[in-house]
């Protein structure tokens, strides 16, 4: 669970080196001496193509890739762990790292080409824009009308409570940084969020730490629908599953769009190689055609898809829900809504 001792971050950094909980790790040996140590929240199966592409460009660089949760990543960087690049889907935490002085600035033609909303102070660089979606099981929805708005979803869940009991999944926002970000941003943007949460709470919702598991469970029919799943993962899974057992649904009333971001930690030693990877990611982020890459480009959040909702803004407002007091308040309310057994 995320617990930020904001007041004592610097003290912690100075006194202890916390052991990292690494979920996955892989080494891509290069021909030279340089080792680029990357700390990332992206699963290897999603991110490996990027790493291989980078190594094709820079064969000399050895890549040391570690997958961690966004909270672990934030804690590791604030503790002063030595990494050259931090890639995270939790843009609020990335922002906070930059704001609090744990990132170093980097500037190149490629980063300058990014739109203003996709970078902050030459410290934080966004390279994907990924929407939050609803994933539903086509089997379980047979004979039911597919909802397009939250209001329709609420009505559907209410009217078919028996069908959905125990079959609705969403992030455990206490565990997942991304889930917390989506939930807080949604609560701010639409009043349907709390009503939906209450309806889901009555249906004995299944809570998950990660998008992957939720999608798995929908695919296998254990869940009828998963709410607030990372769209990119769902699309990637759909591409692999040809069974047509899942359907991705983007809410028409409002949809969060998250920016996956990169920062170069203060502790980085291979600044040049890190910069080169950021340049490559920035170029890919600006590509016109989505192509075969697992993650969507920045323009997928642009005008064509959902003109009324831009991506979540990179700015100081991201710090609001990271404040422990606010977090406690939000979690209390969320628990009240979700845990009604």
């Amino acid at each position: 669970m995320y617990h930020a001792g904001l007041a004592i971050i610097l003290t912690l950094w100075a006194t202890m080196a916390h052991a990292l909980t690494i979920e996955d790790h892989r080494l891509y040996p290069g021909t030279g001496d340089v080792t680029l140590r990357i700390l990332s929240t992206a699963d290897l199966e999603v991110f490996e193509p990027y790493l291989l592409a980078f190594q094709a460009e820079q064969p000399a660089v050895t890549i040391d890739y570690s997958v961690v949760s966004s909270a672990e990543l934030h804690r590791a960087i604030t503790d002063g762990a030595s990494f050259d690049l931090a890639l995270s889907s939790a843009m609020d935490l990335q922002f906070r790292l930059a704001n609090d002085g744990f990132a170093q600035s980097y500037r190149s033609d490629d980063t300058q080409a990014l739109p203003d909303w996709a970078r902050w102070r030459d410290l934080v660089f966004a390279f994907t824009a990924e929407p939050a979606v609803v994933v539903l099981s086509t089997d379980r929805f047979e004979g039911l009308e597919i909802p397009t708005t939250r209001q329709e979803l609420i009505t559907l869940l209410r009217e078919n409570a028996a069908d959905f009991a125990g079959a609705v999944g969403t992030y455990d926002v206490r565990e997942s940084g991304l889930g917390y970000l989506f939930a807080t941003q949604e609560s701010r943007s639409t009043d349907a969020f709390w009503r939906l949460s209450e309806v889901m709470g009555r249906l004995d919702p299944q809570l998950y730490c990660c998008s992957g598991q939720m999608i798995d469970d929908v695919t296998e029919g254990r869940l009828a629908l998963a709410y607030n799943v990372l769209g990119s993962y769902a699309a990637e899974r759909m591409a692999r599953d040809s069974g047509g057992r899942v359907q991705i649904l983007r809410m028409q009333d409002f949809a969060n769009v998250m920016l996956r971001t990169a920062i170069i930690p203060k502790t980085a030693t291979e600044r040049e190689a890190a910069g080169a990877l950021i340049d490559m990611l920035a170029r890919l982020g600006l590509r016109e055609d989505a192509g075969q890459w697992p993650l969507p480009p920045l323009n997928s959040a642009g005008p064509g898809e959902a003109p009324e909702y831009g991506p979540i803004r990179l700015g100081p407002a991201l710090m609001v829900y990271l404040d422990p007091l606010n977090r406690r308040t939000f979690l209390t309310e969320w628990e009240d809504a979700m845990e009604q057994r």
Binding site: L6, A98, G101, R121, P316, A317, M319, V320, L325
Partner: protein, 456 residues
């Protein structure tokens, strides 16, 4: 450096200098104001943000509670990409935020905003603090909300405005320089007009200038007119003096000569006759010398500031030779003219004098009963007046040396002459851009003197 050579340039430089000073001053002021305005804007936003947070303060079950409103932070993103820090203190206890933000020198009185500047995380930050009394438990507790922000946005905004101001200052300066140039020109125009009016005048035009001039130029005009009047008087006086001197010298000479001539008729003794002839020759020589000296002075003066009027050389040759016809006739010398119209620009008086000198010489050195031929020919852009005689030629000495002052040909014998004649001719011709050519005629007797002048 300011050029001392030109008032116009000096005026332009002066005005441009003032413009440059004003440009720099205005840029400096705009930059300062822009910074001030940006800082004040940041202060206002920080204050609004802190106040928004302070307004959420409340007491619940004896505990101080608050929420950080989303808008309170969102508004801080409006100025620029600045790092944001915050802190909420209840008494001496940290409620939330960055504990190590610089401490306030003294807490703000309730309901008021206090601004501080400090350093945090390696950067200069601006802080706005608001205090509120919150009833926690038995007694009211002062709660202080502090919002802090780095100054990048302010710097960016003021730098942008400063750059804009600089561009405008440079543009203003550029326009000012151009306007200065025109202003200088316009103010100097009357002066130039006076100068032009003076320089347009002929060399002997000394009438006072009558034109409207700005008040500043009135003294100059007055002095100029007075100077011209004095100059005119002085010239008239010198002319009168020369005339008077010539009169005073020549009239007695004329008396002497006439008396000697009359005496010659009544004297029978050959020795006395010779003496009288000697007297007459001496008188002739001195009068001719005096005449040529005066002529030379006049020619030099007029050639310095040449009058240029259209002159037809055929007419000139006709008139000049007609004037000398009686002299030539005395020796039964025929003057043959072989002319064609040829127009040049020049001073007719000087040209007449030059031709007269040449013709005078030719007649003087020609034997009785011979011919002097005056011919005009054109050759390219030049016109040539050739005077050919059957006299003794120019002698064996260097031909060019003949035109040097007071030199006479080696074979002039006892013919009266001062030697200034050809010098005068050469001076007149060179003042007109022409030249004098002297030849002794090959295989024949006589000299051939050519006056070469550029055609108009």
């Amino acid at each position: 450096m300011i050029g001392t050579g030109s008032i116009g340039r000096r005026l332009t430089f002066l005005l441009a200098g003032v413009a440059a000073l004003l440009s720099v001053l205005s840029w400096w002021m705009v930059t300062g104001l822009a910074r001030e305005a940006a800082e004040r804007t940041q202060d206002n936003v920080l204050a609004a943000s802190a106040t928004a947070i302070a307004e959420t303060l409340r007491s619940e079950q004896g505990e101080v509670r608050l929420e950080l409103p989303y808008s309170a932070f969102a508004m801080l993103g409006a100025i620029g990409e600045d790092r944001v820090f915050y802190r909420v203190m209840a008494g001496d206890e940290l409620l939330t935020g960055y504990a190590d933000l610089p401490a306030l020198s003294d807490p703000p009185p309730p309901g008021q905003v206090r601004f501080d500047t400090g350093t945090y995380s390696g950067e200069t930050i601006r802080m706005a603090s608001v205090s509120r009394l919150v009833l926690a438990g038995a007694q009211p507790l002062p709660v202080t909300v502090t919002m802090a922000q780095t100054g990048n946005g302010v710097s960016t905004i003021s730098a942008e405005l400063s750059r804009l101001a600089a561009v405008m200052a440079v543009a203003f300066f550029g326009v000012a320089v151009i306007l200065s140039f025109f202003a200088a020109r316009a103010s100097l125009r009357p002066l130039n007009e006076i100068a032009a009016a003076v320089s347009r005048r002929g060399p002997s035009d000394l009438r006072p200038l009558k034109r409207d001039a700005p008040a500043e130029l009135a003294p100059l005009m007055t002095s100029l007119n007075r100077l011209m009047e004095r100059l005119g008087q002085s010239i008239r006086r010198s002319e009168d003096f020369i005339a008077e001197a010539a009169h005073r010298v020549r009239t007695p000479l004329a008396v002497v000569r006439t008396q000697a001539e009359i005496a010659l008729r009544s004297v029978e003794d050959e020795a006395e006759k010779r003496r009288l002839r000697g007297i007459i020759r001496a008188v002739d020589e001195s009068s001719r010398s005096a005449g040529q000296l005066l002529d030379h002075a006049t020619v030099t003066y007029r050639a310095d500031d040449l009058t240029r009027a259209p002159v037809d050389l055929a007419t000139l040759v006709e008139q000049t030779s007609a004037a000398l016809e009686p002299t030539a006739a005395m020796k039964d010398i025929t003057l043959t003219r072989n002319t064609m119209p040829a127009q040049i620009m020049g001073d007719p008086v000087l040209l007449d004098n030059a031709l007269r000198n040449v013709l005078d010489n030719a007649i003087k050195y020609s034997p009785e009963d011979t011919e002097v031929v005056l011919a005009i020919t054109t050759e390219g852009r030049e016109v040539r007046i050739t005077v050919t005689d059957e006299g003794p030629g120019l002698g064996d000495g260097p031909v060019r040396a003949l035109t040097e002052r007071f030199r006479r040909g080696s074979n002039t014998g006892d013919i009266v002459g001062s030697g200034l004649g050809l010098t005068i001719v050469e001076d007149v011709l060179s003042a007109h851009g022409g030249r004098l050519e002297l030849h002794t005629r090959e295989g024949e007797r006589g000299a051939c003197i050519t006056l070469v002048l550029p055609l108009s």
